[in-house]
Point group: D2
């Protein structure tokens, strides 16, 4: 029996800055990844550095499975904590694939790239939990105060 194929596994996206992430955001992202993995949830990211890398590191360290949807067409651009990577070659358009592949999104910190994904998620009905980040122009995003709270909120939204 192969334990890494779990029928009906859930996928949660973790988004945030690839460059310029703060130390606090990195710590939070790592913890979010770890907590998701412990719940058996796969972690979806854009596959690069910063928050994406930290979330994958946390997940893999806890025995989890990670999916990296890279913007470029070279798999070598992905961080080293990806179970599986997809070199989409879609550029920023791959953000929409991150959203499509996720049943809920946890946004760690904020940036214009993150905002694009948050807006797309809200627009397409994918629940968004914001951990840190900007004051957002609406109330459709759940705000969490800690990685624990963010993961709890995300897991509550999953259809099981």
């Amino acid at each position: 029996m192969n334990v890494i194929v779990e029928a009906g596994a859930n996928y949660v996206g973790v988004i945030g800055a690839g460059e310029g992430a703060t130390g606090e955001q990195m710590v939070q992202a790592r913890r979010v990844g770890e907590l998701l993995a412990r719940k058996g949830v796969r972690v979806v990211t854009g596959g690069l550095g910063g928050v994406m890398r930290a979330a994958c590191e946390g997940a893999v360290g806890a025995g989890g499975v990670t999916l990296g949807l890279l913007p470029g067409s070279d798999r070598a651009d992905g961080n080293q904590f990806l179970t599986v990577s997809v070199p989409t070659g879609l550029g920023e358009m791959r953000n929409a694939l991150v959203v499509r592949s996720s049943e809920a999104i946890i946004a760690v910190g904020g940036s214009w790239g993150t905002l694009s994904e948050i807006a797309l998620a809200v627009r397409t009905g994918v629940p968004v939990i914001a951990l840190g980040g900007w004051p957002l122009p609406g109330v459709e995003v759940l705000v969490a105060q800690s990685p624990e709270e963010a993961v709890e909120a995300a897991v509550r939204t999953l259809a099981r």
Copy 2:
């Protein structure tokens, strides 16, 4: 000689709500489309109703050329003011194509869908002019008070 092929023509995107656009937004969008067309600028939209339709109507009424990048795969979903339509079948992912096809973006009003495109534009270096809409969490978007001001600002950003 065919006047509708202009080497080096410029393309400006007009984005905004497809449903739920206010009367004022419709009037503004129509005027924006008209003014862009008068300057020989092609109008790019998501090809559907509301602000998209109004901008195209204004452009076509002034002899302009419009491009509609539809989310679905049925061309019949497009509004009747499209010179050329592309049934992308990409869903919301086509928002990224709207941004890629535009040298500048004018956002009329605001919604989560619009915010997604604004954020993507800022992220990829496409100038954004906001006409109405939400207070945005940053200063990277130019705010215009009228269609005239918005079109002036957009045209100033074009490389000629």
Copy 3:
């Protein structure tokens, strides 16, 4: 009244080699574009050189409308006979957009790139007319002996 917006206009794709097209293929493509334009049909291509350019030149010369779906993200790569261009940034993936945007496909000559589009068209139910080209491993492609015959066959397939 603006003549370039025609509700219910039909779109036919013309595909073929961008580089290495023979002189005969260029002549045929130009004639195909011209004949399509005369019938009021818009011409869809990948927007680059060779057969794509020749088809657009023929269409525009006859007062037609052309759509170029470019693989790269730089509009300047398009040929000078495009009414509207879309710098998709999708690479070869844009071939699928060419097929989606076309109600029928005329393939002038053949190459691996062309074969990919032909196969995708057949797979998704878009009629394909082959003018010249390889012996194909199936009977699902109509073979035409001349541009006139190819355009006649394409037009017959259009839902009017």
Copy 4:
């Protein structure tokens, strides 16, 4: 240490009919998946049934990792032997993602869908090994007589 994240892992695509695959093709695909997994190569497929499912079953049974790039936007459409799935929502356009994600492609049997991917692979420089299938109009595809020979040929093409 987590064994499922292997830096520099190789990915080989296995393509073929989702419906209408013959019993022989299913047996071959399962064996191809198994052999790839034994060599530590990840298996990329379109994630659905038929040849795709058989290749994944073979890989997972041998402890391998599989990636399914689904055409629709519902993860539940994927077969039960996917380590990770991506509900791309791209329709047939996802074939290009399968090719991009693969360093080599093994085609089991043939169909128009398969031909589209083969042609795209040849076009973009991804080696193709054909196991069974149509006589193809060119010599750029390696023809293998058995799953063993196909996997050997695919592995030889991988940059290590």
